[in-house]
Amino acid sequence: MARAASPRRRLLTTLAAWFVALLIFFPVLWMILTSFKTEASAVASPPELLGASWTLENYVEVWSRSDYPRFFWNSVVISVGSTLLGLAIAIPSAWAMAFVPGKRTKDLLMWMLSTKMMPAVAVMIPIYLLFQQLGLFDTKIGLILALMLMNLPIIIWMLYTYFKEIPGEILEAARMDGAGMWSEIAYVLTPMALPGIASTMLLNIILAWNEAFWTIVLTTTKAAPLSAFIASFSAPQGLFYAKLSAASAMAIMPILILGWFSQKQLVRGLTFGAVK
């Protein structure tokens, strides 16, 4: 809607939009500010801003007292690994459902989504026991599997909506041109759906990075990612605000930065085919 609004109206809407956006963002901003304050300054009343005493001490402390690099590495391996594995399984499935739909394709898709509605808590004990039995407990492989399965329906659905946008005639043309099924997927479908695949990948990395139920239930120390680390950090009472904030900032910063850089693709991916 690129219509000429009066300058005054434009100014007003700009101000309102910025006010709302800052309000939404404020908790994150406040957390980041707090993470740079001294403990005393962090809990001062009234809250200090300009007069606060700033320090990097909290980050140094969290870094040295915890094993941040390991948690970070676990997070990376688990979120990226589960996403790639998920994509490998989901791309052929989504291809099949989008281009060779049967009578029950829609039901199948809905069934897949409905598996995600099952509250995780309800199956926590069996999965815990199974993981113990299978030697998957507190391993990165185990978490990769669990998170892949957890997000698989979402991956399939997103890819399905992207693939649906690709005209079937193009794939038929490829078939006439002599492409077998795999060449068709590799040379035609995947490149055409690449933006969609990229945003699916991003969203799933974020979902996996932020997953904080299975990561806590299925790990103790070895394979624990940042979401488990932060949960353990907030558990003991009397932990100070500034350090808690610093630890929180360190847990969310990588994904926040990734998300900000890729927000264009991400927003496109988030729509789940809601926008045609």
């Binding site: 005209p167 005639e169 193009i170 043309a173 078939r175 006439m176 055409m192």
Partner: protein, 330 residues
Amino acid sequence: MGQITLKSVRKSFGEVDVIPSIDLAIDDGEFVVFVGPSGCGKSTLLRLIAGLEDTTSGTIEIDGKDATALPPAKRGLAMVFQSYALYPHMTVKKNIGFPLKMAGMDPAEAEKRIQRAASVLNLTNYLERKPGQLSGGQRQRVAIGRAIVREPAAFLFDEPLSNLDAALRVGMRQEISELHQSLKTTMIYVTHDQVEAMTMADKIVVLNAGRIEQVGSPLTLYHTPKNIFVAGFIGSPRMNLIEGPEAAKHNAHTIGIRPEHITVGDGPWEGVVGLSEHLGSDSFIKVDVPGLGIINVRGAGELNVHHGDRIKLAPAGKIHRFDANGMAMA
């Protein structure tokens, strides 16, 4: 070589018999056009030949060999789609070269063929562009280029020109005809357009509800339609079909007279002019004749008649006679 034979080919989608049973022989080098009303199964038939759909029963032979179970890639046919179906992420060159790449052709040989196709189709200056940066006509040429590099046994076209504007359509129509003359490859062409069918075809196949009504050269269909359906379908404006006493005079259930076979001036039929269209070269008028209904008349040049005029008409050409079943009578 591009000889295609359909034997008792049947296709049903679930319960619906879209094509009950078709026998058709297409000779090598022939230009065959499928026409028929929307939904009659033209695309389905083409796709059966292409291998994009399975036949429910019957056999399809290409060059005498049974191809019914072959996948599309193995049939040696090329198809040009209505939507062009170009690969949007590849340049024109890659688009045209894709079938060669899939066939594992040596890159140098592929390059030669691509250049040759591009020069035939006037695409040499666009080889590095993506389809999104081309006009409709250029895209259509790329789609054709992609079809010809493979040197297929036959080309299949599904309404390839229907997305183009009128002027471009005439140009492309002639290009495809010329292409056919120079390549001498079998072409099967689906269209809605009367003019395309009449001008391009060696042989027209008129389809109706999945059945072949008549097969023949354009002029055969025009002059001796087998039945009322073909008579009404071929020719524009439609043939006038008259029943009742007037038909009985000719010992027929129905008689048909083409609009261009009626003269204005003196004659047995009298009526009032309704719509009249004057193109300069031709005049199309509709005349309401009591007892006969609305009669279409086409006159060469300017017929100086207008809405509301009372005029007389006379049949002045072949009168087609049909029996009660709609079949032509000798």
